[in-house]
Amino acid sequence: MKLTIERAALLRSLAHVQSVVERRNTIPILSNVLIEAQDGRLGLTATDMDLTIVEQTDAAVATPGATTAPAHTLYDIIRKLPDGAEVELSTGGDGQLTLRAGRSNFNLATLPREDFPTAGTTDLPHSFELQAREAKHLIDRTRFAISTEETRYYLNGIYLHAAKSGEVPVLRAVATDGHRLARFEMPLPSGAEDMPGVIVPRKTVNELRKLIDEVDGSLTVSLSETRIRFAFGATLLTSKLIDGTFPDYERVIPTGNDKIMEVDCKSFAEAVDRVSTISSEKSRAVKMSVAEGAVTLSATSPENGSAEEDVAINYSGPTIEIGFNSRYLLDIAGQIEGDGAEFAMADASSPTLVRDVTDSSALYVLMPMRV
């Protein structure tokens, strides 16, 4: 194998794939990136067995071939090369990968291409298009609520499924950790009608979100009951899905909450942030005393003291006191882009519904804390 490629192009591709590679690996080949050169293209593949990213980029291929080399080492080298450098990658008979750029010369240990695990080519019967912008929204609105708890492993991802909102078919993304729940929906793309409900793992969600940050066009999503693939530009991300049943989340979304508070989201979030400075590191509890015209946010901690702040609201129900984890409030407020947030409450111990007043695509459910 022998090829040359501009440093910037190689760095970009490597950066995309290398973050999949775990820092500590018990299986040596998983520390490596698969390098394939043919037909004027360089293909880079990295995998952790569950998640695989393949990226293609143009390169001047003199001799086609393939090998695998340590991903992080290779990435660090390319990163340190001067801007504008031409990089030459070649393999000789000695089983090493030789990297030349200007006056730099590296020989890297390789492992045979045949040992690199390849995802079996399973059939992905369901396929649809998603605008990158929509995909970013879908992820941003929900991923903060993904659970990290290992026991309820089926909550460690975003539940993606087709549903109906009234009569309108929608694609829904739901995440919850038991303390809050986030639901995002958008018109169902064609091709997704019969898709099974799938749980996309947190790491896949995070990698995908990073990769599509610079993407403007659309993504092709293909999936089966066990696998999902995202294709965009020259990148292909394939992932296993979480094998579990997502709980019936509909029953935890309250429908009859009648104490409706409307608040300016920005000033509310800022006040919550200030008041929570006082709450204990672990619980981050903030109490809301909701009355006509204003909500009083307060926090007390035996070590730190206490804090209180009023925020103007639109509210005409009976006075109620309800406690929340301030971090959860801020996570949700961070996703509300409009000016107004609407809180629909029942009482201090029942789930509260939060929505963006001007955007119905997302809704949030928040479990109150005892305060």
Binding site: T148, E150, S280, M367, P368
Partner: protein, 428 residues
């Protein structure tokens, strides 16, 4: 050199030539140039569990007594007679019995020891609010500034305390007196049992010079081995290093190594030192490898930990399972929860998942479960969207606890607790 009589508490300017107190004629004298200037003490009960047993059953007085769990357990405490045979605490019971076949083995009665320990602690707290318990039978005391209050130097107050505990509780203690916690703890070990040892600030460095580095607080097996690779065995071997060098190599521990090797320790005696973890464990009569059998052992431990958490007003965010294999290898596995818990159910659920992953047919001799990353009970077991009964379960657990407090621990129990066959506990 100031000399204190530990029997009549007289202070002399010089040690008497005949080695006897001129007032009471007893020989238990402590002489030290810094005696009246030192005020940080470590008090350690002598062979505590065994001493409590001997006190309560005088027929045991001259017999070797070992307190420990079952034939397969370990020695929790060995009296000084048993120690003559080479029995030590933490020794596996079968080894202890091989060394001392005539020993009287007594099953631990923790409630009794706790009562005695609290009685001693009450007496310490009567002398200073700055009492930092390390366990049921040892504590640090800071007696700085109590001279006027107790009409005497800390050394005198401590000698009185030791005599009072002996007289009124029939238990003996050993006292270490120094200028900081690190040295006080070392001192209490020097003159055991019924001891009173002093390490002064001036002699600290010389005293430490030839002792092994493992004596330093925080130097465990791993650090000891890594220091040994660098050729550091004795404490004096640390002296040539600059503080910055040690910090660069060992992080925060480097600073401690630098300072402690010179006898310096600026940790305060902290009466509110927070509990870091709460756990319970049990050693089996015969090794177990069957997951079902292990789970049956796990449940009562979860109940114990949950009860201790409730009693301490704490909830734990991390659950740790401990297993010891038949070859005495320790295995620990832990998991973090999204919110802290004090429920036996939740501890069991996490412990079970960890156990099923670890139970690969290996024979285990011990199982334990613990909760750490502790926080106030008020924050524990917050309502969960997906488990609406979680808050209710917490209420049930508290109700069960109050029934047990009034009627005894067997009065009410979970169905799960009945699956373990035990004396008089047939599965129903």
């Amino acid at each position: 050199m100031t000399t204190l009589c530990r029997d009549c508490f007289s202070l002399l300017d010089e040690p008497p030539a005949d080695g006897r107190c001129p007032r009471c004629r007893h020989r238990r004298l402590v002489a030290h140039p810094e005696l009246t200037a030192l005020s940080i003490a470590h008090l350690d009960c002598d062979a505590f569990y065994a001493s409590v047993e001997k006190r309560d059953d005088p027929s045991l007085r001259d017999k070797p007594v070992i307190v420990g769990g079952g034939h397969r357990g370990v020695v929790s405490a060995a009296c000084y007679v048993a120690r003559l045979y080479g029995v030590r605490s933490a020794m596996p019971m079968f080894k202890a019995l091989a060394a001392c076949p005539d020993a009287v083995v007594i099953k631990p009665n923790m409630a009794k020891y706790r009562e005695a320990g609290e009685e001693i602690r009450r007496r310490m707290r009567a002398l200073t609010p700055l009492v930092e318990p390390l366990s049921i039978d040892e504590a640090f005391l800071d007696l700085t500034g109590t001279e006027k209050l107790h009409h005497g130097a800390p050394a005198v107050t401590l000698a009185r305390l030791a005599a009072e505990i002996e007289r009124e509780l029939s238990l003996t203690v050993s006292i270490g007196l120094s200028c900081n916690k690190f040295l006080a703890k070392i001192a209490s070990d020097l003159d055991k049992p019924r001891g009173f040892a002093v390490i002064g600030a001036a002699e600290a460095k010389d005293f430490l010079a030839d002792r092994p580095v493992s004596l330093l607080w925080g130097v465990g097996k791993a650090l000891n081995a890594s220091l040994e690779r660098e050729g550091i065995r004795r404490i004096r071997d640390l002296w040539p290093y600059e503080e910055a060098e040690l910090i660069a190599r060992h992080g925060a521990m480097g600073r401690r190594l630098y300072r402690m090797s010179r006898g310096l320790d600026d940790r305060r005696v902290d009466p509110d030192a927070p509990t870091k973890s709460i756990s319970a464990e049990t050693t089996f009569d015969s090794n177990l490898s069957d997951p079902e059998a292990l789970l049956a052992e796990l449940w009562p431990l979860c109940e114990t930990v949950a009860r201790r958490l409730r009693k301490a007003g704490l909830g734990g965010r991390t659950v740790t399972l401990k297993l010891k294999t038949g070859q005495f290898r320790n295995i620990t596995r832990s998991r973090s929860l999204s919110s802290p818990t004090q429920l036996a159910d939740i501890l069991y659920r996490e412990g079970k998942a960890l156990l099923l992953a670890a139970a690969d047919g290996t024979a285990f001799r011990l199982i334990g479960i613990g909760a750490s990353e502790l926080g106030p009970a008020a924050e524990a077991d917050q309502p969960d969207l997906l488990e609406p009964d979680r808050a209710r379960r917490a209420q049930v657990a508290r109700a069960v606890e109050s029934v047990r407090e009034r009627l005894g621990s067997e009065a009410i129990t979970r169905g799960r607790g009945l699956t373990r066959p035990g004396p008089g506990k047939a599965p129903r």
